[in-house]
Amino acid sequence: MNVLVHLTYLGPLVAAILILFGFAPRRTAITGAVVALISSLILFLGYDHTAGGYQFASALPLVPAWDLKFYVGVDGLNATLLFLTSLVALAAAWLSPRTEENLHRYMACVMAIAAGAAGAFASLDLFFFYAFHELALIPTFLMIGIWGTGNRQAAAWKITIYLSVGSIILLVGLIGLYLMVPDKDRTFDIVKLQAMAAHGVFTGSSANWVFLLLLFGFGTLVSLFPFHTWAPQAYAAAPVPVAMLHAGVLKKFGLYGLLRLALPLMPQAAHDFTWLLLTLLVGNIIFVGLATISQKQLDLTLGYSSVMHMGYIFLGLASTNLIGVNGAALLMLAHGLSIAALFAISGELRKQTGTLDYRDLGGLAKSMPLLSFLFGLALYASIGLPGFANFASELLVFFGAFKTATPGAAFNGYQIATVCALWGLVISAVYMLRAYRSIFFGDRPSRWVNVKDVTLGLGWPVVLLLAGLIFFGFAPQAVLQKIEPGMALFWK
């Protein structure tokens, strides 16, 4: 059964290689993604949360002297993320253009991104955890530069520099983490590192430094304010599958890293820097939120909104209690599904109309009823209306963060941040509804009369993503019960 974990990244990876060797790009990519989806679904359903711990694990020792091995396995958290990865990968593969210059390389890059993301989530060894993520970044950079739209070169340039520097900071932080362990016990094994945390290995002044390095390293990858400016431009310029995969999945790597390493291993350092994280995440929610309102194009609005929503996940991470981190983990899934759906819809819209500028669009609900319906659902999910997974998870985040008050004390930082975050919901309602209104309602310029609607044959991946959002919105417990045993080891 352990081969299942390997299939989640090998499916897309083998597909990518076969495509480069001349196999039919579209069919091979979709096959690879389906293989990954089926295996990750079995992993997710098959994970036994009553037993807890890491399951389906397999390890191949590489450098025994450093305790470096190729080690994969899942607990509830990364099983969920693997499921998200393969679902979005399938949708991205399906929605990739059918006729594109160098379609082979295009699809191979898409699959390489999916493979890198899945590998990073599946790895329980620091070395490969880091390496797989970079494997996904390189094709991301290339694709934005080659097949992007608009100001693609500047966008590709910026995302490359930001994320590369972020990765190097992260690398130094991870090396620091590795070296904090006493000489004879040094290991790259994440499971062992987590076990060591209980013995107070990661404390003292060096823990503060390592924590900061990890926070800013992972933070840059997740577009933590003020290191977020790469994201909106890059997503606006990126080809649709790349925007879906990066905003939906790959960006979660940074959050996953914080949730897996930085926070549980160094709780004291995390506690000492709570003020910093809270300040920055309010920047994400309020500052970036206001910036989002002023956007005039749908792709930029979505790019900024995805940066803004990271603030909520950070709030959940900062809350340091089980409710909050559970909410953050669920929100990672919910945000991944909803932003991927939104980027997919905006891609279809651009394909039909050639523009995403609010000033050019209007009244499209008449020409494109199905697309506008799907967009409506996705945007309600993104705002966080009840019934969608976003609502369930944001609720948990707010409860968790607000709860961290000291009884009897005055209003503390957590509560201020929570209040700001609640106001942030209003901001996101403003810009999303504004986008909805200016694209789908109002006067319909005559040139949009004959615009074709999407068919279900093309749009079903979006339906699938939205169905996931609704399902987990009504049954968040399906995810939470899987995640909880892993989280309960470190949070109460």
């Binding site: 450098v63 390496a131 970079e134 490359t160 590369s164 520097v165 130094v172 590795y178 070296l179």
Partner: protein, 477 residues
Amino acid sequence: MSPILLELIVLTLGLALLLVESFADRLNRNTIAIIGIIGLALVFLLLQFGGFSSTAVAGYTQDKAALFFKKFALVTTIIVLIMSIDYSDTVRKFVHGITPQAGIGEFYSLPILTCAGLMWMASATDFILIFISLELVTVSFYTLVAFTRRNPSSLEAGAKYLILGALSTGFFIYGITWIYGVTQNTNLTAIAKVLPSIPASDQNGLLFGAMLVLVGLGFKVAAAPFQFWVPDVYQGAPTPITAFLSVGSKAAGFIVLLRVLEAFQSLPAVESKLSFAIVLLAAATLVYGNLAALPQTNFKRLMAYSSIGHAGYLLMAVASFGALDAGLAVVVYLAAYLLMTLLSFIVLIIVAKNSEGDDITHFNGLSKRSPFLAFSLLIAMASLAGVPLTAGFLGKFLVFKVAFESQQFLLIVVAIITVGCGFYYYLKVVRAMYWQTTTGTQTAIPVSLLSTITIGALVVLIFLFGIFPQLGAGLLS
């Protein structure tokens, strides 16, 4: 059997090929290169599977590091010879003789003599031997750098290299005399034994000598502030020789530096000052190499500055000499550096031949003209920038690790910034190849079978070292 035999074989091979050059007029000169490649490959196999006795001769060690650097020199020379075959048309254009093939044979056989010098240096533990082998290397480089003598920039490079090389030799030998004056020895093992008993009053003289040696080696490894010669020489020299200089010469400098530092370990008072000087050198080299690389538009010049930058990372590992794996970090970094630098240069030679120039703009649209070359260069650039799953990452990883272990926080902060710069300027090449459209010639680029195999092998090795770190970790065992 002693490995000295191998140096003798290589030396004989080089001299024999020179004789062939002189007497066999009609022989196709590429045959000389092929014989050279096969001969060196045989020596490599002999070294790999020969089973050498490790009885030490005075001033000549056969430890694992020495064996590694010998293999390193052999591989580098083989690949340089393969590049030279692709480059021979250019050599022919700038060297006029009575026959059309005049000089080409020398161009193929001189690197083999250099290789003998490099191999010797890997084992030398006596200052005199080190000096002689270093000169054997440097003197053959003087000739090679200025080899395309009708090309003014090659001549200019030759003159600059000669003057600064001679200057650095002066520093080096003067440093040796000071060390000899204090310790009465030139043998590093003997020096290490004598050092603890040196009275404090003599330590300043010793430090002065060691600093002079450091300056001399600083020139060889292209460390700032002794890097002035690098950009012009690298740009002007024939491209295979540039590759040889940036890989072989640098590796030689580092093996000597490691041996000298090892000897000085026994006198911490001097060693700590020496280490501090190396920290400063490393920081200056990192900053200078990487910042100056940012605005470059010529690929060879870019590689020159990047070679300075990489010297900085290597010095960072040397500065962390106290850490457990510092030697391994240097070795792994050099191995990775060999693969990715030679890969870049071999692609450069082929592209430059077909585009009439070696500016970065000449790489525009390479992904359309030759997807194979573009992909290979992409891998080389990714590895030079330090992207995981490539050899370059393993090197950077180990360098950061040992720097962390010996608490070189200044260097770590500097290196984080310079790695970021690295991404920027290596990406410029990737951008040209993939994101921009061709301005000049559109024709596909032919690649010879030998070059295809070499490029393919280098790409595969870069991946293998990146994906299986045990290969790198096992280099010294």
